[in-house]
């Protein structure tokens, strides 16, 4: 397991992870946004690798992905961002999140090498389930990089066992059946699902999808080990494209607020 991920979960405090698309609105600002987030003591940063056809994402992240591609963001640029963030903050876990084609096309071996070079701790690949992930998993494991597995409200007990077999780092629980940035989860159902997973695994569980503000973070943190917020941050970028300083200012304010949701 990645040491950084392991260390972060060494204490019982609730965790906050943020998602932003790498290269949105541009390379430099994208780095500054993540630095701003880190300055507010966020626990984990997820960097999105833009893809032309993000099937699991709602309009906000679709547009963000598209903006980044239009700016010419390459996978090598994403690794530049990661390397920079790694230098900026030695101990923060960095997770790359995205879709399989970008990695497959880059070449799995090449991709894993670049992950090692740029200090990546984990990967979340939305369209790659245990049935198909062994090529990537085997190479990541040799480098102690975690392939973070996704569990959803439709995952049954049988699949849960399959997913937990080889799972490492933490588990990502998708709180709703749906895409990113939409409605919020039903807390009663969420509680049942998290309890079920906990009865099979000791891994920490981060919950994501539809978590919009500090209030949502607070609710989620009463049930899971932490919350992931993406679309709400990306929305700040979308609404302030002409004023990059304002983006940083608002992200700073918003992250502070989100963090307050983790203090129960």
């Amino acid at each position: 397991m990645s040491l950084r991920i392991k260390n972060i979960f060494n204490n019982k405090s609730k965790k906050l992870a943020t998602f932003t698309t790498g290269g949105d609105p541009d390379l430099e600002t994208s780095i500054k946004i993540i630095e701003t987030i880190i300055n507010n003591k966020v626990d984990i940063v997820e960097i999105g690798m833009p893809f032309s056809d993000p099937m699991a994402d709602g309009p906000t992240i679709q547009l963000s992905s598209n903006r980044s591609i239009m700016k010419g963001t390459s996978l090598n640029d994403i690794f530049k961002i990661s390397s920079h963030i790694r230098k900026y903050k030695e101990d923060i876990p960095i997770i790359l999140m995205g879709y399989y084609n970008v990695i497959f096309h880059f070449g799995i071996k090449n991709f894993v090498n670049k992950c090692v070079e740029s200090g990546i701790d984990g990967l979340i690949i939305v369209d790659l389930q245990p049935e198909e992930d062994s090529d990537l998993y085997d190479k990541l494991k040799l480098q102690n990089i975690n392939l973070i597995r996704l569990i959803t409200p439709t995952t049954d007990k049988e699949r849960l066992k399959l997913i937990l077999n080889n799972a490492s780092g933490f588990l990502y629980y998708v709180t709703i059946t749906g895409i990113t940035g939409q409605h919020s989860a039903n807390m009663e159902e969420l509680k049942k699902s998290i309890n079920l997973i906990k009865s099979f695994s000791n891994l920490p569980i981060m919950a994501g999808f539809g978590i919009k503000d500090a209030n949502d973070v607070k609710k989620i943190c009463q049930i899971a080990d932490g919350a992931v917020v993406g679309s709400s941050i990306v929305k700040i970028i979308e609404q302030n494209l002409s004023n990059k300083n304002k983006i940083l200012e608002l992200v700073d304010k918003f992250t502070k607020n989100l963090i307050s949701g983790t203090k129960l």
């Binding site: 099937m55 591609i69 970008v102 096309h105 049935e131 439709t154 995952t155």
Partner: protein
Amino acid sequence: MKTKNSYKQLPDEKGYFGKFGGRYVSETLMPLILEVEKEYNKIKNDNQFQNELKYYLKNYIGRPSPLLFAERITENLGGPKIYFKRDELNHTGAHKINNCMGQILLAKRMGKKRIIAETGAGQHGVATATVCALFGLPCIIYMGEKDIKRQSPNVFRMKLLGAEIRSVSTGSKSLKDAMNEALRDWVTNVRNTFYIIGTAAGPHPYPAMVRDFQSIIGKEVREQIIKAENKLPNLLMACIGGGSNAIGLFHEFLDDKDVEMIGIEAAGHGLNSSKHAASLTGGEPGVLHGNKTYLLQSNEGQIEEAHSISAGLDYPGIGPEHSYLFEEKRIAYMSATDAEAIEAFQYCCKLEGIIPALEPAHALAVLIKIAKNYSKDNIIIMNMCGRGDKDIFTVAEELKIKL
């Protein structure tokens, strides 16, 4: 891998045709897709299901579709005997409904209460809306904004049939993006919704299931040509977007090693331009819409926009079985440009009195070119997979004729 001397045993249990296919979807969809596979495996050998399907194929769709000896085209080309498999005579005017009928019967059996589908040319949308009306299920069709404009007659037909059309304005605003939106809907409404995918692509078991429902085309052809000529054809031809009509015709003959096959992709403005839809000749292997297959993509693995005058071929991917048969060299893949298709379209109208859809017009364009390589005692069968009523506005515009 293929069993000894057979191409017809694929996919394997993980849904692979060689190295193509598989299941690349969100975890949310996995349990449902596994359930679809389980139910599909059951109905394959279920007499009650198969008899019900047969009943509707015959009485509702009008199968078997005729196999026509195209006399005037044969005479005009002066070489091999040309036959058309007349799947454009099916109810709703294309081969698409063969598959929709099979899938909706499966959806009903699984107790699903809501149907979604994507459409490009609108033929699959119309076919889905039709079977939904027949069985009284609500139907939502995702269609790219660009396609809604160029296929307005089909949009109106779908509305008449009671379907709700959702316009997709993301990305290239055509078939690929409609499929993205349909997948987003499915993931959101996974528990009550069945997704009727229109082509032989997507996560396993869709490529195999769609192929099986379409393979009625090739099975009928075998009987019909033996009856008419007492021998097998030398060459089979069909156009390819995702490739469902082509695999439907070809699959039955894959192990007949003397039967040659050509799939025709859309070359748009030409293969050397960036505006075409020839995934095999101009693409590389990748992962999109649930399967590993040949895709048009950039150096960064971003999916590129396809282009074809025919909305039904305007897709940057292709079914995984075609990718496999391409690499195995069992099927040859060629292409025809927009201009060549328009020419073949008019040729067919004048010589045979058949207004073909722009999709099979691509296949015909290549047929016209290569017929001279075959002798008079050879037989070529082309799948006339759709009729061209939907395309008359596009063709008129191309010919600069005001309607």
